[in-house]
Amino acid sequence: MFDRSLRLNRRNFLAAGGGLVVALSLPSSPRRAAAQASPGFAPNAFIRIDRQGIATMVMPMAEMGQGIHTAHAMLLAEELDVGLDQVRLELSPASDALYGNPLFGPQSTGGSTSIRAFWMPLRQAGAVARTLLLEAAAQKWGVDPKTCRAESGSVFETSGSRHLAYGQLVDAAGTLPAPAPESVALKDRKDFKIIGKPHRRLDTPGKVNGTTVFGIDTKIPGMKIAAIAISPVFGGKPKSVDEKAALAVRGVHQVVLTDQAVAVVADHMGAAKKGLDAAAIQWDEGPNATVNSADIIRQLKEASKTPGAVARSEGDVEKALAGATRRLEAVYQLPFLAHATMEPMNCTVHVKKDACDVWVGTQVPTMAQTTAAQLTGLPVEAVTIHNHLIGGGFGRRLEVDGIEHAVKVAQQVDGPVKVIWSREEDIQHDMYRPYYYDRLSAGLDASGKLVAWTHRVSGSSVTARYFPAGMQNGVDPDGVEGADQPPYAFPAIHVEFKRVEPPAVPTAWWRGVGATHNIFVVESFIDELAAAAKADPVEFRKALLSHNPRALGVLTLATQKAGWGAPMPQRQGRGVSVQFAFGTYMATVAEVEVGTDGTVKVHRLVCAVDCGLQVNPDTIAAQMEGGCIFGLTAASHGAITLKDGRVEQGNFDTYLPMRMDEVPVVETHFVNSAEAPGGMGEAGTAAVFPALTNAIFAATGKRIRTLPVDTKLLKSI
């Protein structure tokens, strides 16, 4: 996949169209216009260099806060031998051929893959460009390229005094045939000048002065603003609206009905919202008007009693359990969760006779393009996706439902229209992290050693809907991620997946995906077994990790840094978790205090990370901090519930975020490693759930098996 994309020539790249400039570090220059007139040097889809020597880097993946644009620019700049102050960034246009994620195929930012997927392709892209620039300089000087070296955007003759800036070489370099990406020499890691050093993010300046343009900030001449109401019951449709009342609101231009929603189009969102209220919409609620959370849970509970598809079965589990001295069983439950990105769902669309423009922040530009093409009946090439920096993704913007709604509205509007969801629409029409109902059992022998482990996951399969080809004999690999390959050496293990689709509720990827669900379950149940064996939770884990040095390494580091074992006051405790997910090893220790009223205060989270070679260490720490808080928020407060087919939560007063006065300090400690880089965007989120609940157990003796944490169960009076 990526070989093909890297071999595409400049003409193909230019034909794909430019992206939106997101970060400018351009010196202003009167020669700038002349330089722009030249295509300059574009040896592949990721790099263009103009006659000024400015390297434009086209970002294949979406920036939604994870720092990937800076990290990807670092990979390119390292091998290209330019400073980060000599680059500017562009968002890529929609193109699977040029910017597909090598690990997925399509252009998709998710699964903590952006570094893992582009670690080599972007370095190779930079090295190809550097090789050609060296060659161009050598030809000008009539010397062997081996006698030249590249540094900070110039080529130097190693033994002489001559040098040429990249800008002076672009025309010559542009005529040279590009070598195959895998044929060019990459730098030895010891020679890295940029990779592995902390660098300030390139996207920060615009984010502190209000100039960054998110999708919701789109401004198009003649653009109208639409507020939207989607059927509050999933699958319902509009029955009637008071169009006259809506149109009577000053600034309202139009009321639009689609198959699932009503939109009021106005000069500004204030008028549009007022118009929507005035429209007094009546809904045909359809068949889902009686769906309640309790029924969904009952359905899962029943289904979980019978076998699912086998994800992994090794050793004789039945025999081992029959012979066990002690046998434990447990049920764990995790709720539906919304993403609640700070930037509410929005999408601006202009449908014209022969073209469609879409301004949005999306993790899946080509899926967005295909969706708009299908709805409008236009060829894919006639749809232009103008992607933006994203005000929070967390998986929400891997979906194109918001784009569908906006296109359906825009088809009925003359001119561009920006469709903005209220926060209530955003939370009540999210696509949710599935509710999971997990059954586990395990056996211990007389010495307290684990002899067998079973785990049956029951819940919705996101893979079956999103990527059906990814299903493996009825097993959703995401549904068992973190469950079928735990880091531990279990003598016998049996893991099943039972697909149970809830009525009405759409389910989707949520930060940390399968790992966020299963690491909680596995690490909690391991903790239960340690307690049953009257063993220290860390020692119990270590005994199962002797084959796994990297897991042991992070566990040892985290527990050392956290002061594991030191006495704590009453109703305070430490909890630990270990994981291997997204190619990264992590151990986390949480320190909590549980009040007599049951309130839980997390004082400290200590994370040890072995993510292999680091690209931007400070970004990794930032992802640990943010990922942990995202998970801690869900574990503490997060639950989407249904009553009469409607989501009961609506805004930040009912779907609670953690706030400044509530969050602990997150410490990040690294195990230095030369292994290939692992993913970091989701690891912290997955790790924190069991660390929290295991700490609550240490503090109170109460085992939390259902999330979010119910503080009523933790009262001491």
Binding site: G65, T204, N209, G270, M342, D618, A622, G627, I629, F652
Partner: protein, 150 residues
């Protein structure tokens, strides 16, 4: 009916209902999109602006309530000593992740520093807990506020 509103030192004449939230006038009528929409209910602080130096939520501020007061937004907060120092410390500590809430965070922090030049952690908790960050940048926000006062 038109309303005159003084924003960042300039008086704008706005043709909208008096009960229209300032947020939508800023964003949709005047095109000043640095102030963000997050909840529309005064629950997240993304739309924080200053009204005569006090932090207020633009989504809860009808334009007819502004009167002669001066509005300051993220676009101009860098012209105040507190705003400038905060923006620099935000950059120094790489505070933002997605960045969407950070306009509001900086506006709340600037109002805090104007009133309390050397805030304690408790002061920061009190002033900043109305601002939600789903990326979880809180500990860097706290550190950056302290840094801006150093």
């Amino acid at each position: 009916m038109t309303t005159n509103i003084k924003i960042n030192g300039t008086v704008h004449t706005v043709d909208a209902d008096g009960d229209t939230p300032l947020l939508w006038v800023l964003r949709d009528v005047l095109g000043m999109t640095g102030t963000k929409f997050g909840c529309g209910a005064g629950l997240c602080g993304a739309c924080t602006v200053h009204l005569d130096g006090q932090a207020v939520r633009a989504c809860q501020t009808p334009i007819d309530s502004v009167g002669e007061s001066s509005i300051t937004t993220i676009e101009a907060i860098g012209e105040t000593p507190q705003g400038k120092a905060l923006q620099q410390s935000w950059i120094d500590l790489d505070v933002p992740q997605c960045g969407y809430c950070q306009s509001g965070q900086i506006m709340s922090a600037a109002a805090l520093l104007a009133a309390t030049p050397k805030p304690t952690d408790a002061d920061i908790d009190a002033a900043m807990s109305g601002n939600v960050c789903r990326c979880g940048t809180y500990q860097r926000i706290r550190a950056a506020i302290h840094r801006a006062t150093a």
